[in-house]
Symmetry: C2
C-alpha cells in the first residue's frame, strides 16, 4: 500500500474511521514538518506498535508568539514526505491553516496551571495553541496511540493532562530524545544555528550530563544541582540562559527534596535561536 | 436487553467502543437529571435514529455560579432512570463529580465570543463549564449523534461551534422545545415555581407568540419586535426581565434587519427562579 497524502480533515477522519472499523490499531505522530531523525524515530515506533500510521504536518500558527519564528519556520514538505515514507507512515495529513482555523473558529482548549510555567512563562499563549491544535488533530486522526518526543517534555506532560482531563480515548506515548553525536538534541530549529552557535549549543546537553552525574554521584539537593547546571551554562560565552531547573516530573513544580521522579529542564538562547532540552534524573 | 446503569467512565467508554466496532450507531443524550417530557423526547428521537442509546445524568458543578442553585438542583435518580427506561435508553452513565473532576484536573474548553453574551453575560463562566463537561461526556460516550434541546438555544449553538472548531467526530442534533398546555417550556427548574409563579411564567411563551405574530403579520424591524416582547413582559407583575432580544440565529448578534435566520430569546426571573425560552422567527 503506498502512502496517502491528504489535506482534507473530513477525508482523513473518514479514512481512519473505516480503518478502525476494520479492527486496525491506529497510531498518530503530530509534527510541524522540518522532519529529522527524532521525528523518524516516532514514526518508526508507531509503525512497530500499530497497523495504520498517520503522521500530521502542520506549522500551527496559534502556538507561535507575535515575535517568534512562525514565518521563517522551515517548510520542507517534499523532504518531509520522504522521511514519512521511509519511516513507514501510511497516511500524511497536511492541512492548510484556513481549513484548521476558519474565520468562525472561537474555541480553545486550555490546561491552566501547567501551561503558565517554564515554556509557558517565556512563551505566553504557546500551550493554548498546542493543546487546541493537538485536540483537533487527535479528533481528526482518531488514533489509539499518539506519539510525542520527550524533547518537548512540558508539552507531552500538558497533552497527557489534557487527554486525561477531557477523557479523550487515546494513549499518549512519549519517545526518547534523539541526539547528534555531540549530544545536541535534534530539533527543527538547529538548522538556524551558525557553525559557531552549533558548537556552543553542545554545552546544553553537557549541562544535563552534569546534572545526571551529580544526581548519581553526589547527595546534592535538587536545587543545588539546578544551580550547578545554571553555573555551567552561564560560564559559556554565546549562551543566554532562560532557565535551568530541576522539577517534579509529574507536576513541573520545583523539586525541593530528593525522592521524587525528577526532570532537569533547560531553555537557552544561542545567537537568535531559542533551544530547549531536558533529561530525567534518578534522585532517590 | 435491559438498561445498563454505569458510573465508571472507562467502563462506559469500553462498552460504547465495542458497540461501535460491531457497527452500531450510537446516540447520546447528555442531561443533568430531573428528567421531564422534554428529555424523554430527546431519548425517543435518539432511539428512532440510533441502535444504541446512551443517556448521561450528571449535575455538573462547574456550570453553576457561586450564587446559583447547584446544591438545591433537583436530584431524582430513581425517577430519572424510569424515564430513561421508558424512552428507550440502553445505557445510563451516572458519574460522580469526584471522577469527572479529580483534584489534578486543569483543563477547560472555551468557546470565546459566543459564550460571553446573553446567558454568558448573566452567568459568567457558565458556558466554560458546559463546553468542558460536554467535551468530556462526548469523549466518554463516543456517539455518532448527540441530542440537545432547543430550549437551551445558546447552549446548543455553542456546542455546535465547539464540535466544529475541535473537529469532534459527532453530529449535534437539536430537538424541538416541549411545552406545557399553557405554553411554558418544560424545564427541571419549573418545579421551583409556586402556583402563582407558575401562572405568571406562562407570559414568557405568550411574549414569544407575540414575536411570532409580529414577524408574520407586520413589517416591524427585529429590534421593534424585541421591544414589543420586552414591553409585554415588563407589564407583567412578578416578572423581572433580564433580556428579550431578537438575534441572528447563527451568531447570536442582535439582528438589525429582516432577511436572516432569526431567534427570539428571553430570560426572566419569576420569584426566585430564573427561566429561559426562545423561538425561531421567520423574518424574510
Amino acid at each position: 500500500m503506498s502512502m496517502q497524502v491528504v489535506s482534507d480533515p473530513w477525508e482523513t477522519q473518514s479514512i481512519v474511521s473505516s480503518m478502525r472499523m476494520n479492527g486496525w490499531i491506529v497510531g498518530c505522530v503530530p509534527t510541524m514538518g522540518a522532519l529529522h531523525e527524532g521525528h523518524a524515530s516516532l514514526i518508526e515506533q508507531a509503525r512497530n506498535e500499530c497497523n495504520f500510521v498517520v503522521a500530521t504536518i502542520f506549522v500551527n500558527p496559534t502556538q507561535f508568539g507575535p515575535n517568534e519564528d512562525f514565518t521563517k519556520y522551515p517548510r520542507t514538505l517534499e523532504a518531509d514526505l520522504e522521511v514519512c515514507r521511509k519511516a513507514g507512515a501510511d497516511l500524511v495529513f497536511t492541512p492548510t491553516a484556513e481549513v484548521m482555523y476558519p474565520q468562525s473558529a472561537q474555541t480553545i482548549v486550555r490546561v491552566n496551571q501547567m501551561s503558565s510555567v517554564l515554556e509557558g512563562a517565556h512563551r505566553p499563549g504557546h500551550f493554548d495553541g498546542v493543546t487546541t491544535v493537538v485536540a483537533k488533530l487527535l479528533n481528526i486522526t482518531q488514533p489509539h496511540n499518539a506519539y510525542f518526543g520527550q524533547k518537548d517534555f512540558q508539552q507531552q506532560l500538558i497533552i497527557r493532562r489534557m487527554v486525561s482531563d477531557l477523557n479523550m480515548p487515546v494513549q499518549i506515548i512519549t519517545c526518547p530524545i534523539v541526539r547528534e553525536a555531540d549530544g545536541l538534541a535534534m530539533s527543527s530549529r538547529n538548522r538556524y544555528l551558525s557553525a559557531s552557535d552549533r558548537k556552543t549549543a553542545a554545552e546544553i546537553s553537557a549541562a544535563l550530563r552534569l546534572a545526571e552525574t551529580l544526581s548519581r554521584d553526589s547527595t546534592l539537593a535538587p536545587q543545588e544541582i539546578a544551580a550547578e547546571m545554571s553555573a555551567h551554562l552561564t560560564r559559556q560565552p554565546g549562551i543566554e540562559l532562560q532557565y535551568a531547573v530541576v522539577c517534579n516530573a509529574d507536576t513541573l513544580e520545583p523539586l525541593q527534596h530528593r525522592g521524587t521522579d525528577a526532570v532537569a529542564l533547560i531553555a537557552v538562547r544561542v545567537g537568535t535561536t531559542r533551544l530547549i532540552d531536558n533529561c530525567r534524573l534518578s534522585l532517590c
